[in-house]
């Protein structure tokens, strides 16, 4: 098989992955989630635990140290069969608090401290870099293996170039599917589905090779056992300390590796999936490990002396002339490597952007303006750059380290690094006394010991530490030798580093937690995390009042996107029994908003952004009492009371609103007659006065003509007013005969803009439109609809007080309805007027001289009601904004009564 065809197979495989990810995203967007939400997809996505380190490295590991490799998979098995105790809590916390990464979890638990988020992020990036390099190396090596075996004897191009191409391709894939959306609660359906597919490929590949080895080469299971007993690894040199230590560290890693946390907690869509994964994932690991020893034994038996055992999975079939099987094995290894890199890059990029880039940017912005700009765009860009950064670091590490031989060592180093988060993680979710200071000290000490004893000595051939330090300790201090702290020499380096780093990490964590005193927010979060199962998730940390819902909405829009934010506010408002987009800024509402934002930018940033608007986070006395109060009954009782009082408050609010509206309406009804009188008498006055003047004989002809023109104009105004009144009365009684026809919305908007341009024609108005979105057929009474559009555009032309007036028209299709937003850049409409503008004769200034009677918006509202649609004022858009929403197809029947 030639190099080109190998590359072609790779490309075809990658294209298939793109297609699968793309289709999954499309299904997710159409809310067809049944397949995507299957527990099987979830279980398979967890298989990124098995990287190229497993696929190639496990055989190498077995060829070197026999059965020891199994504990790397037995550790996670223990964690998963014990899901009820730990994983379920972790996932519940992750979902309740909208955790975006392991760094976010730690930061959120310890008082939304961004410093902790930064520490965990940096640790994770450092620990993951060699691991990513390892994946690039394994793919490059597997290309190499093909090259060496190839009958055509093709020469492999530069290895560095291969790795570079792979890193680049992976960056592209990750950016395309990992940073597509910010709002969907940090879930990446496309990526997860592609990874599930890769999981199947690697399992099938490894089993296929195993079956070939056992039945094809080894002569069946019984013969195979005999071969194992006769092989160089027949003796099992079990070191009890290492055996237990590695079981522990792999169990820890499955929880704390950023990529595992991503698929396990962040991408979890349903807690029940854990139940399936609890046995299915150990099953997957078991199947992945089943044939490792036979492959290692056969490799040692058949392959020439000195072949790299890390590549037996590939070279064994190749040496037996099984090209297709080898190709399958190659794809399996390729899958293992790519899926790990993709998820690790997403997880790390999320952490870097949420905990480093965004807070930095916000801190810089805070100095200049109060309201931050477009956070959404910033977060997406910083994520994309972070992905490129993470992969570049992996590639650089690969080039610098020159491709160390043993894959197993690198994997274990990363595991021990990731395990440093364990004390803070477990302490955080099981112990209320764990504090920020304790977590920070433990993490820093553990990380420092890990770096000194394991990581730095491993980088490159000689290590980053000078040989003299390794031999006799820094400055000749013997008991500080990296591989023999406190003079305890002879321990296995991994075990040595694991023991000391976690010991001091845990000790520092415990001692400093007990000595320090947590802040109020930290105590609140501690209770919310530890008691996640018996608490309503609302941790009340926002003192009421002080902030306008409109400000919160405009901030939320910048992070969640307009559609998502508006929907959230609308739902919250209607839960409070209010209409429109602006709920009361009660503290439960703000807490919910904070959690929603945390799902996009992380807890610490979300907290900081809300604190910026509300003017500081005040933890109320009630919150503190809730923390101090430990008894379950009291909690339950107060929860019931709370539910009742919330219900009462909602009803009261609805009643108050209704009452206010009734009073406003009655005042308006009262003034309705006097309004009509005024509107009729004003033109009448001019007509009467000028008619009397015209009756006089000695008037110059020029004046006579001018005054006759005035009379004519005022008479027309009077007619128009009467028409409007009649129109309104017909529309209000839903007695109007609709004249349904089909029209292209784009043309309709053109027509409206054309007609409205006669309003204040002297003003240079810039119109912003997105033509492609506008082309859609609408079945409705087009004359009526255009009347609404004209009215809105004319209003903008009349009232928009900006120096450079701009009107933005946005069209969105939402299922079977279409939304058209008209947004100008003027001062907007004051909040207290927003409810009244659609009432008859309601004008924004009490005494308008614009010559209109204030019936325009009232008519618009009635027209939209007749067309089966709505028209609303849209607050928080930075100007006056109206949203027209109507069905794409209006039935022919007369408007419903």
């Amino acid at each position: 098989m030639g190099f080109n065809s190998l590359v072609a197979v790779c490309l075809a495989y990658v294209i298939m992955l793109f297609a699968v990810a793309f289709m999954a995203e499309r299904r997710a967007r159409r809310s067809r989630l049944r397949f995507l939400r299957s527990p099987w997809i979830y279980t398979l996505s967890l298989s990124i635990y098995c990287t190229a380190w497993t696929f190639y490295g496990a055989v190498g590991y077995a060829a070197r140290s026999g059965l020891e490799f199994l504990v790397i998979y037995l550790g996670p098995t223990l964690v998963f069969v014990g899901w009820w105790w730990l994983l379920r809590k972790l996932v519940r916390i992750g979902r309740t608090h909208r955790i975006t990464s392991i760094a976010d979890l730690i930061s959120s638990r310890y008082g939304k401290s961004n410093a902790l988020g930064v520490i965990v992020t940096l640790m994770s990036v450092v620990a993951a870099t060699p691991y990513i390099a390892l994946q690039l190396q394994s793919v490059t090596l597997s290309f190499d293996a093909f090259a060496a075996r190839s009958p055509e004897g093709w020469a492999l191009p530069d290895q560095g170039a291969t790795a570079l191409w792979i890193a680049g391709g992976l960056a592209l894939f990750t950016i395309l599917f990992g940073t597509r959306n910010l709002d969907a609660n940090e879930r990446h359906h496309g990526v997860v589905t592609a990874i599930a597919l890769e999981a199947v490929v690697k399992l099938v590949a490894l089993i296929a090779v195993g079956v070939f080895v056992v039945w094809g080469l080894g002569g069946g299971p019984v013969d195979m056992l005999a071969r194992i007993d006769a092989s160089p690894i027949a003796e099992w040199p079990l070191q009890p300390g290492r055996f237990a230590g590695l079981t522990f560290v792999s169990a820890a890693a499955v929880l704390t590796l950023p990529r595992m946390f991503q698929v396990l907690v962040v991408e979890n869509v349903d807690e029940r999936h854990l139940a399936t994964a609890s046995w299915a994932f150990p099953g997957y690991l078991m199947l992945m490990s089943l044939f490792v020893v036979p492959i290692a034994v056969m490799g040692l038996e058949l392959m020439p002396e000195g072949s790299n055992p890390d590549l037996f999975v590939l070279t064994l079939p190749l040496s037996q002339g099984q090209g297709t099987l080898a190709l399958l094995a190659f794809l399996g290894g390729f899958s293992s490597a790519t899926s790990m890199v993709i998820v690790a890059a997403i997880a790390l990029a999320t952490m870097v952007s949420n905990h480093i880039v965004t807070p930095l940017w916000l801190a810089l912005r805070r100095a200049s303006t109060r309201a931050p700009g477009d956070v959404r765009g910033l977060v997406l860009i910083s994520r994309r750059l972070s992905i490129i950064g993470v992969l570049s670091m992996g590639y650089m590490y690969y080039r610098l380290s020159g491709g160390s031989e043993a894959l197993a060592a690198i994997g274990l180093i990363a595991f021990v690094g990731a395990a440093q988060v364990l004390p803070a993680l477990l302490g955080g979710i099981f112990w209320r006394g764990a504090t920020h200071v304790g977590a920070m000290t433990g993490l820093l000490i553990g990380f420092a010991i890990w770096a000194y004893t394991l990581f730095l000595p491993s980088v490159g051939d000689a290590g980053l530490l000078p040989q003299s330090v390794l031999q006799s300790g820094p400055f000749g201090i013997g008991w500080l030798r990296p591989h023999a702290l406190f003079g305890i020499a002879g321990l296995d380096p991994i075990l040595h580093a694991l023991f000391w780093s976690l010991l001091f990490n845990a000790l520092a964590f415990l001692i400093f937690s007990m000595l320090s005193f947590p802040g109020p927010l930290e105590r609140l979060q501690g209770v919310a995390f530890v008691n996640v199962f018996d608490q309503s998730p609302a941790a009340r940390s926002w003192a009421q009042g002080g902030v306008e819902a409109e400000d919160l909405l405009s901030m939320a829009q910048r992070i969640l996107g307009a559609r998502e934010a508006q929907h959230f506010f609308q739902t919250q408002a209607s839960a409070q029994g209010k209409e429109g987009f602006l709920p009361d800024t009660t503290s439960p509402f703000i807490a919910r908003l904070e959690r929603k934002l945390a799902g996009s930018v992380g807890a610490a940033t979300a907290h900081a952004m809300i604190a910026q608007l509300t003017g500081g986070s005040a933890v109320s006395m009630q919150d503190l009492i809730a923390v101090a109060d430990e008894t379950a009954e009291a909690k339950e009782y107060s929860a019931t009371l709370e539910a009742k009082s919330e219900e009462l408050a909602r009803v009261a609010r609805a009643l108050r609103d209704a009452n206010d509206k009734l009073r406003d309406l009655s005042v308006q009804k009262d003034s309705f007659l006097s309004q009509i009188s005024h509107e009729l008498r004003t033109p009448m006055t001019s007509i009467r006065a000028f008619s009397e003047i015209l009756m006089e004989p000695d008037l110059p002809d020029a004046l006579r003509a001018q005054y006759a023109e005035i009379i004519h104009e005022e008479a027309r105004r009077l007619t128009r007013l009467l028409d409007d009144l009649l129109d309104l009365s017909v529309l209000e009684n839903r007695g109007v005969q609709l004249n349904i026809s089909v029209v292209n919305l784009h043309d309709l908007l053109n027509r409206a803009l054309q007609s409205a341009s006669s309003t204040r024609p002297e003003r240079a108005f810039r119109i912003e439109r997105d033509f492609p979105t506008e082309h859609m057929p609408v079945f409705t009474d087009t004359d009526r609809l255009v009347q609404v559009f004209i009215n809105l555009i004319s209003n903008a032309r009349k009232y928009c007080d900006s120096e450079h007036p701009v009107l933005r028209i946005e069209v969105r299709k939402r299922g079977k309805r279409v939304q058209i937003d008209f947004i100008d850049n003027g001062a907007g409409i004051a909040k207290h007027s927003q409810k009244l503008i659609f009432e008859k004769f309601a004008r924004l200034t009490d005494e308008s001289r614009a010559g209109s009677a204030g019936l325009g918006l009232a008519i618009c509202r009635e027209i939209m009601a007749n067309l089966g649609g709505t028209i609303d004022y849209l607050p928080g858009q930075g100007g006056a904004a109206f949203r027209v929403s109507l069905p794409l197809r209006r039935g022919r029947e007369v408007g419903a009564n």
Partner: protein
Amino acid sequence: MTQRRVLLIEDEPHIAEAIRFILTRAGWAVSVLDDGAQAFARIAGDPPDAVILDLMLPGRSGLEILADLRADSQLQALPVLMLSARGQGRDREAAERAGATAFLAKPFANADVLERLDAITGGGTTACRAHA
């Protein structure tokens, strides 16, 4: 004899034009203002012989302007003819309570405007009539 001066505060341009025409022909010097917010400053700066004041104005309503005038020691006796298009009894009462010298409902006969204006500026006795 110096020309008598009247300030017309009215936001409807056509009505203002009609009144201006009628009064000018009758020998009045008419100046027109279409905004309530500037009315008081304009009157205080250069008090005319009489003011014709519309009830509904942009910026500041006629009743508020009238209250300002009556609160000012220099201007409390200034003859003011109030106009209103709502034409209800309530408006007339409100205008008189606020200290209007005379009231006229829209639409009006042209002769009535002249007559009322002459009446409130003709002599000191009529000026106080509305206060009674």
